[in-house]
């Protein structure tokens, strides 16, 4: 493939999925600077192997490369206890959905913080499955492809993630959505 044509095709195929790639990297490696390094590494890999890419399921293809880059980063770093910087993360993020009404604002912020902390506390493989399913809306099959595990493993990881979250959040999850 000629260079310019390759760059063109690369950007057309994967550009629409960069946000999802970034979101996954941020949720998996946490630190924005680390996430950027990981995403750069992933893009180098993606570009290098783009000739072998046949144009189908671009999102899954990119996400699987990003996720592998995340995991090799995490294993290089030896998976230490992850830290969560509330201020930094609050400043950098855009809530998916804001329910209006000042009277529920404090409650809402507290619930958002609790849910986020609990998802943070999940083991990375559970967190990964949960994020891909709930935030990115991937099907079981797509998650299986991205994370390179059998369908049954996806189901059990999702199930474990949900059970842990239910247990830790207690009734909070329900209140949060009903409020």
């Amino acid at each position: 493939m000629k260079e310019a044509a390759k760059v063109d095709a690369f950007q057309r195929a994967l550009g629409p999925h960069l946000r999802a790639a970034w979101n996954l990297a941020r949720w998996l490696v946490r630190d924005p600077a680390d996430a950027e390094d990981v995403l750069q590494e992933a893009c180098i890999r993606a570009f290098r192997h783009f000739d072998g890419f046949r144009g189908e399921r671009a999102r899954g293809w990119l996400l699987s490369i990003v996720r592998n880059a995340c995991w090799s980063f995490l294993s290089r770093r030896g998976l230490p206890g992850e830290t969560f910087d509330e201020e930094r993360d609050s400043a950098a993020v855009v809530p998916l959905q804001l329910s209006p009404g000042p009277e529920t604002e404090l409650l809402r912020i507290d619930q958002a913080r609790r849910i986020r902390e609990e998802v943070e506390a999940l083991r990375p493989e559970f967190r990964e499955a949960f994020i891909l399913r709930e935030l990115e809306g991937l099907s079981y099959k797509e998650i299986a492809e991205v994370t390179a595990v059998p369908l049954g493993t996806v189901m059990s990881r999702l199930s474990r993630a949900r059970r842990e979250l239910q247990a830790r959040l207690g009734d909070q999850g329900r209140k949060a959505s009903v409020s």
Partner: protein, 238 residues
Amino acid sequence: MTCTETLPLLELELDGELDARSVLEVRDHLARCAACGRQMASLRALGEAARAHLVSFELPSGLERRLPGFSRSRRPRILWAAGALAAAAAVAIYAVPRRGDALLDEAVAAHARSLQLDHAIDVQSGDQHTVKPWFEGKVGFAVPVRDYAASGFQLAGGRLDYLDGRPAAALVYRRGKHLINLFVLDARGAGDAPARREDLRGFACWRWTSAGLRYLLVGDVSEPEMGALAREAAGQRP
């Protein structure tokens, strides 16, 4: 359907992964069983809360331009992103004997990169009047672009590269199957210096300074052709 049979299927129903027949059976059970109904409601609430309260990180502005393959100029940053490692490794392995050779080292690394990654050219043209204006606003100086086809070196195009931590113009020439890079960067006040040969790691390298610009010619073309090109480009008598 019993509770034991239903419970494992609740999540699948929630995620839309259940086949049509099982969906009916699960819903039928949920209509009759309060305990399973509560579990389903809890699962559904968890998903809704996650989507409502978990953040989806937006791509920071400017990040896309820093990503290999996505730079706005259509030039994959893979060149120097991947190359930064190579350059760092090169600097680490090859101790720099003299001041100034770090630049040569970088130029050789950049040249090697342009060969390996097949990303030698941003603007592909044998026309100097196309290549020259392409660099405008990219390197901070006017890039003299000449064709040396008469001497057997065909202008193939240009590329934006980075040497010494700043943008440099890389003019790409072809001679048969060989690719030659002529790097041009601001001399930062250095006076004119005639072309001299300093081979590095098997590459033929020539460098000179002229009219406020520093030139580094790197390729794997043997002498005397490289020297002839260097002297011609440097405006010296052959």
